[in-house]
Symmetry: C2
Subunit: 415 residues, 2 copies
């Protein structure tokens, strides 16, 4: 990667607070992490809701029964017994796969990094929802791929916009290496692709011979436990499926996976080995035993219930206290709400004022590769308890009211 | 990465058994891992020598005292308390660093991958000892860098050869992005760079404005506990230092690190975040508490003693049973002995015969990027016990005697 490119990469994607230099970012996060600040910024799961008694048992059993193996190098593809368990996790969402189709990765993030490394040469196009996951944009950018966004709404990615993007690319003599999508409770937008849209998107992928990378961290976190068909289940040969344990067990284990047909799977194993040889056998054994011995679906229900209550608190308080001219998504699962501010309000410029008012969020611009999103922001409801979320929203609402009044005073009718 | 390139990459580097296709490799490893086969192939540390009582205590304490943090996302740069402990590990080798200089990575392998990603564009030159670590060659190749080897002998890399390589590059209008070296108990050669050579290599790096990447997995595994000055201690600003816990604690934790001055360190943190967000907080907490509460230098002495005895067994049996015309290095630490076979013997072609005789090794060609090494091979003395090592060497010696007799019968004096 050239130095010049890295500077662009740094400036645009690599941190969660964009357009700032490293020391500004560090200062910002130091403030955001102060206990008096309500952080609606991070996507940290509520790991305190885990059963630590069970986890201690599982960990002890691993050290006792499989110590030397757990402390040894593992296979590049991942622990076979864990891969078998992960197919059960996929089955809980109605996705069929064989253990041999899976490559264990360091969270979903490494799966995206390896897929980008395999497919992307500098200047290649990747299609993705706008907005999209900042970590995916960063991974694609680190291989100098160009992200072209496809518009989305409350029903997820818009197939008409997708077809138009494919046609524009074709007219310019270009094609996309793949379509990247988070169909369930998308990060950051919080919306899910409807069943009809899934069928339309897959049909377009088929007719345009387009590879699909389906990223599904949040599917099992639907508040009602409803499941929509995975794109992979609609077109197994056309879809690389990326999963992770970060939101249904723990991000601290750093276990994700990608399910792919054989020629791609073999190449991903080689790239995994070149990147870091293999996954931690200790965390793989812990995860394997967790799924083999614990009521893991019950643990997911605990997370779901926590997030549902917190989401309700966030949505209620948004409705009660945000100024007119704002709108937001109404998630049915996952961790995030996406907010549109009145035109002219810049979420990035507003952040220092919000931090002074002791509330943090993530400005929207970082979730786009094309410079849009200035008047948008992401709020998460996963980490602080409900009353703190309400307090945070009230603080942010005050800052917004002031900002809107100030703009009205300056610009008056011209807005 | 283009498809064509990946095929070259696959063919040359990415597995430990080169020049074979994926199913041949799988078959080979299936045979090598059978219990009746003595494997002198892998570089797996003898993790059974760890104190599992202590490890169970450490793990329980982490879950009990820091559970939700250990199961949460971590910082991109790595857990601060662990980075502090890692500076103590470096200090045990006489290398000074600040915790803030360090970036925690998934083993030393990811450190090499990120360094290559940062510095290497397609066609760039990297200098490395010949032979060199196969995982490093694979990482450099995955960014399409060209490795130019520098000859080495029992005193490590030859500074005269290094200077000649630099001059040849300059004459061709090229320069090297960096010099990659394993100065202590090198993998695969088993030799260490003398103190004088270290000074000469660093002086050449200074005079040619050459960045050095110093990879040091084995320094603390010197059989007598002798330490040679790290290149980084001779030229702190010119050397990126790569460390790992894989050989002094456990490869199953997948914890390595790179020490780098600020502008490079910041870029490595960004690339780490794009690659996999962060290291496992669970394994980082376990490692941190291990170094904070356990007699970790005593554990390293246990490993040292095991490897010293096994190395002696290997060297004694080589002297007793290998045919004339073979030579080998005499390591003073680490895990590996490098063997040169009589001219004309091809170590790769010999491997199936060796496996039939129930002994495995790694053919030498994989440790070179330039196609040399056909008559060389690597033997490891880290995993099987001493009597099995002797048995393995005797089996390999028989295969070699037969091969040499066969060649003598066919070629007679012409050899």
């Amino acid at each position: 990667m050239t130095e010049i490119y890295l500077d662009r990469f740094r400036a645009r994607y690599a941190s969660r607070a964009h357009g700032m230099n490293a020391s500004e970012i560090r200062a910002l996060f130091a403030v955001a992490n102060r206990p008096e600040v309500v952080s609606l910024a991070g996507g940290m799961p509520y790991t305190a809701a885990l059963d630590y008694h069970a986890l201690a048992e599982v960990t002890q059993a691993v050290i006792r029964d499989a110590g030397p193996a757990a402390m040894q190098y593992g296979e590049g593809q991942g622990l076979p017994a864990l891969r078998q368990q992960l197919t059960e996790v996929m089955a809980a969402e109605g996705v069929r796969a064989q253990a041999d189709d899976l490559v264990v990765t360091t969270g979903g993030q490494q799966a995206l990094d390896l897929v980008a490394k395999l497919f992307c040469d500098p200047g290649d196009v990747v299609l993705a929802e706008g907005p999209s996951y900042v970590g995916a944009l960063g991974a694609f950018a680190s291989y100098q791929a160009e992200v072209v966004h496809v518009a989305m709404d409350d029903e997820g990615m818009d197939p008409v916009a997708l077809e138009a993007a494919l046609q524009r690319l074709a007219a310019a003599g270009r094609s996309a290496k793949f379509l990247y999508t988070i169909p369930n409770h998308q990060n950051p937008a919080g919306s899910s692709m409807s069943v009809q849209r899934r069928e339309q998107v897959v049909a377009l992928a088929e007719s345009h011979d387009l590879l699909v990378v389906e990223d599904n961290p949040y599917g099992l976190l639907d508040f009602k436990g409803e499941l929509r068909p995975a794109l992979r289940s609609l077109a197994p040969d056309r879809v690389l499926y990326v999963g992770t344990l970060s939101k249904i067990l723990s991000p601290g284990l750093r276990i994700g996976w990608v399910a792919a047909a054989e020629p791609v799977r073999d190449k991903l194993v080689l790239l995994k080995e070149a990147a870091d040889l293999c996954q931690s056998n200790l965390t793989q054994h812990v995860a394997e035993r967790w799924f083999a011995t614990q009521p893991w679906l019950r643990q997911i229900e605990v997370f779901r219930d926590v997030y549902r209550r917190r989401c309700t608190a966030l949505l209620d308080e948004l409705a009660a206290s945000f100024p007119p001219g704002c709108s937001w998504t109404a998630p049915t699962g996952g961790l995030f709400v996406w907010v549109r501010l009145p035109d002219g309000v810049d979420a990035r410029q507003l952040l220092p004022k919000a931090l002074s008012a002791r509330v943090a969020y993530v400005p929207g611009a970082g979730f786009y590769a094309d410079g849009s999103g200035a008047a948008e922001l992401r709020l998460s409801f996963c980490f602080p308890p409900a009353d703190r979320i309400r307090e945070g929203v009230r603080r942010l609402a005050e800052v917004l009211h002031e900002e809107v009044e100030l703009m009205d005073a300056i610009f008056g009718d011209r807005r």
